[in-house]
């Protein structure tokens, strides 16, 4: 690997303080430290260190996301060809999806890392690894047909306002990936909801969409028909889709054979990623479990009252649709924007799941309540932590009083 090291050594003078391309120093440093774990040794404190670093933590999260991502790619193709009633192999499906997905991923990374590198240079520190995960999360929670420039603008907004204004990775209040999605959701509503965007329907010339084709997501259908009020004539047809054999049957939503944001559909593979994260000790099982319980409790309460068909949906089914699973495993568990105390994690996770289902059912304008609930709980997390820490302080002062 000597020759690789030589390349870095040769180019370093160019980007160092006095060099002509100093602005590229963070990029140079990022790539070099990626290729080679640096030769830095301990100077103060403990003389030996754990092999783990943020790069390892982040790559572990990315590994956990890969199954859902690959499935999402395949699903894009499957839905596309399905809409035209065309026959396709799994490879056709996958390649079609990959070609849609790769530009999205590339644009997100380019936009986000561009901002990160600029700030790293400005602040004279290294590029943080946080965006490695955010940059993959963002395309996975976008609809397939969103224009690339919108992704770029949303990403830049998220990194700038969601993260860098607070001081960068580790300091942010909100989950950057969700900030990007929230921005896109409110700035470009027509591209983020409805029944036109979740399946790519740009067919070859002359291709016809199949009869009875619907490109809506399960959430969209529920929100725009069932949630609109009682005695809506469309209710029955929609609810039939949720029965066995329907488009949004329990099995289909579990496996992910439904329209939706690219990476969010397969509960199975997301849960697999979640288990991997928990097993690796990178994702908090406390947040995931309490999030699940929170959602289940709210859905069960709704189910018990069942004023409309949406509320009457089987609680488990309720959790399998929309972004609930994805939010639980990959969004709520963000250690920086989530609750930072161990007790707080239970409260934070529970409430995020609880409010997620509540918002989605009560407010048809926001079918994706999970995103809003997690962002809301991101803001509330410091408050939760405050009370948890306060209890420790009280315990200590009580001990002092009794001493």
């Amino acid at each position: 690997m000597k020759f690789v090291q030589n390349i870095f050594d040769k180019t370093r003078p160019l980007v160092e303080k006095e060099g002509k391309r100093n602005i590229l120093y963070p990029l140079h440093n990022a790539i070099e430290t990626m290729a080679f774990v640096p030769d830095h040794t301990t100077h103060s404190g403990a003389h030996v260190r754990d092999a783990i670093d943020l790069k390892r933590t982040m790559i572990t999260v990315i590994f956990a996301m890969v199954p859902a991502l690959l499935f999402g790619m395949w699903n894009i193709g499957r839905l596309h060809y399905g809409a035209f009633g065309e026959e396709s192999t799994w490879l056709d499906n996958f390649l079609f999806g990959a070609l849609k997905m790769l530009p999205l991923i590339t644009v997100t990374y380019a936009a986000g890392l561009g901002v990160e590198i600029f700030f790293a240079w400005k602040r004279n520190h290294a590029v943080n690894e946080g965006f490695l995960v955010s940059g993959l999360l963002i395309p996975m929670i976008m609809p397939v047909d969103i224009p690339l420039w919108m992704v770029a603008v949303s990403t830049i907004f998220a990194v700038l306002i969601g993260k860098e204004v607070f001081g960068g990775t580790g300091m942010n209040l909100l989950n950057p990936a969700l900030t990007a999605r929230a921005f896109a959701f409110f700035a470009y509503p027509t591209w983020m909801s409805g029944d036109q965007i979740w399946i790519n329907t740009n067919g070859e010339e002359g291709a016809q969409l199949v009869d009875g084709y619907s490109g809506a997501t399960a959430m969209g259908e529920l929100a725009t028909t069932v949630g609109q009020g009682l005695n809506n004539p469309a209710t029955e047809t929609v609810m039939a889709q949720f029965g066995s054999g329907g488009t949004y049957s329990m099995m289909n939503t579990f496996l992910g054979l439904i329209p939706g944001s690219i990476g969010e559909t397969s509960a199975l593979l997301i849960l697999l990623g979640g288990l991997f994260l928990v097993f690796k000790g990178v994702g908090s099982w406390k947040i995931m479990l309490s999030f699940l319980v929170g959602g289940l409790v709210m859905a069960t309460i709704f189910n018990a009252f069942a004023v409309n068909e949406f509320m009457g949906l089987n609680p488990i089914h309720q959790l399998l649709i929309g972004g609930f699973m994805f939010g639980m495993v990959f969004m709520a568990t963000d250690p920086v924007s989530g609750s930072q105390t161990e007790t707080g994690k239970y409260i934070y996770g529970f409430l995020a799941g609880f409010f997620g289902i509540m918002i989605r059912v009560f407010n048809p304008a926001y079918p994706e309540g999970i995103m809003l609930a997690i962002l809301f709980m991101n803001v509330m997390a410091p408050l939760i932590d405050h009370y948890v820490v306060e209890s420790n302080i009280k315990r200590r002062s009580k001990r002092l009083a009794n001493a």
Binding site: M1, V4, Q5, T33, M34, A35, F36, V37, P38, D39, H40, T41, T42, S44, G45, A46, H47, V48, R49, D50, A51, I52, D53, L54, K55, R56, T57, I59, T60, A126, N128, E129, G130, G167, G168, T169, G170, M171, F279, K280, G281, V282, S284, P335, V336, G338, Q340, T341, E342, K345, D385, V389, N392, I393, R395, R396, S397, R399, L400, A403
Partner: protein, 449 residues
Amino acid sequence: MSQTYKIRKGHNIKLIGDAPQKHLEAVASSTYAVSPLDFPGITPKLVVKAGTQVNAGDVLFYDKDRPEVLICSPVSGEVTEIKRGAKRKILQVIILADSDTKYADHGSFDLKSTNRDATAAHFANTGVGALITSRPYGVAASMHELPRDIFVNGVQSGPLAGDLAYQLAGKEIEVAAAIEALSLMTAGKVYVSQDGDAPSLELLSHKKATSIQFTGKHPKGLVGTQIAQAAPMNKGEIVWTVNAVDLPVIGHAFLTGAYAPTYLVAVAGSRAKNAGYATMTQGVGLSSFVSTNINNDNTRMIAGDVLTGTTLEENGFLSFGKSQITAIPEGNSTEFFGWVLPGFGKFSTNRAFWSWLFPNRKYDLDTNIHGEERAFVVTGEYDKFIPMDIFPQQLLRCILIGDVEKMEQLGIYEVLPEDFALAEVACTSKLPLQQIVRDGLMDLRKEMM
């Protein structure tokens, strides 16, 4: 029946290079050095200058702010040099030792007397008072303080720690005298801790001491852990701590009146050519010891263990109060894509690397940091290594922003840098936790003085 506490949080770092129970050649040198840097929080005021003749047990310097804290010479001879650094900061007092050590005679002390002031004076004058650490700040104790309790730490659980039974063998009388003397210094209890996972040490049980046992993982051997379990500290309280390995030196000073800080030092680590135990006096020049016993090619020599020890120079001197020398390889080499590889052979305290499959493997760890410093990102990581009722990350944040009131509320009085050592090893963001805590404590102390 003594109380037993099980320490569940923590981690035993298993390294290769244990010290076998054999005596190495006693270490002798003509030069000795005492460094004020071994005493955090002390502003040294010199009593000697180059050319002064001293006996073992004569004062070399004292603390400017607390003149009753005396640091004494470990050997007799002539002070040849005062080494200074930037801003004339005193780095070392170098002593050219006599061939036969002459001891300053402070007279033997009648331990039957229960006079605290006389006991305190004997502690200070013989130099053994400096072997007592005073919490909350982790500084050499002043004999003017009235400690709530005294903790004698008889658990050595750090990486490659020496075997206390071996190091104390034959010192029954001195140990008993030391515990007796300590008991005169507090109105509270003298706790003596023992390792519940090792055979109990008869010589540490004393009728004036409360025996406590600790089982489980390191940091059971940190006195901070022991205090937190047995009798947590509160704001305003002072607790003294003494390492059991120092008891013979204290006992000797009370029995004979002489200061003779000689230890059976555990020599360990993968770079120790001859591992074992060597008799050394504090401050001894180590150059000949290093050339015979250490493979010194790109090696980090540490006085103490890899968690809390201080780096030793090749021609350095045995630091104050240390009874272990660890030699491990330096890690100044890069690793190609080290963070992506499965890492079957990598030391890690969590399962992100596949080495978790082999929990009993012993590692030859080097000093590489394995990454770059980052902001706090991962949460709940430190809690796993600090068996105390505190919120480590929140406390560290308060220290970093200098919020004194919050630091107090979050329990900074209960911790010393060493209590954060394991968390520092495990820290994903590679933050210098021990340094942060040390700075926080010193700022706090300045505020309080």
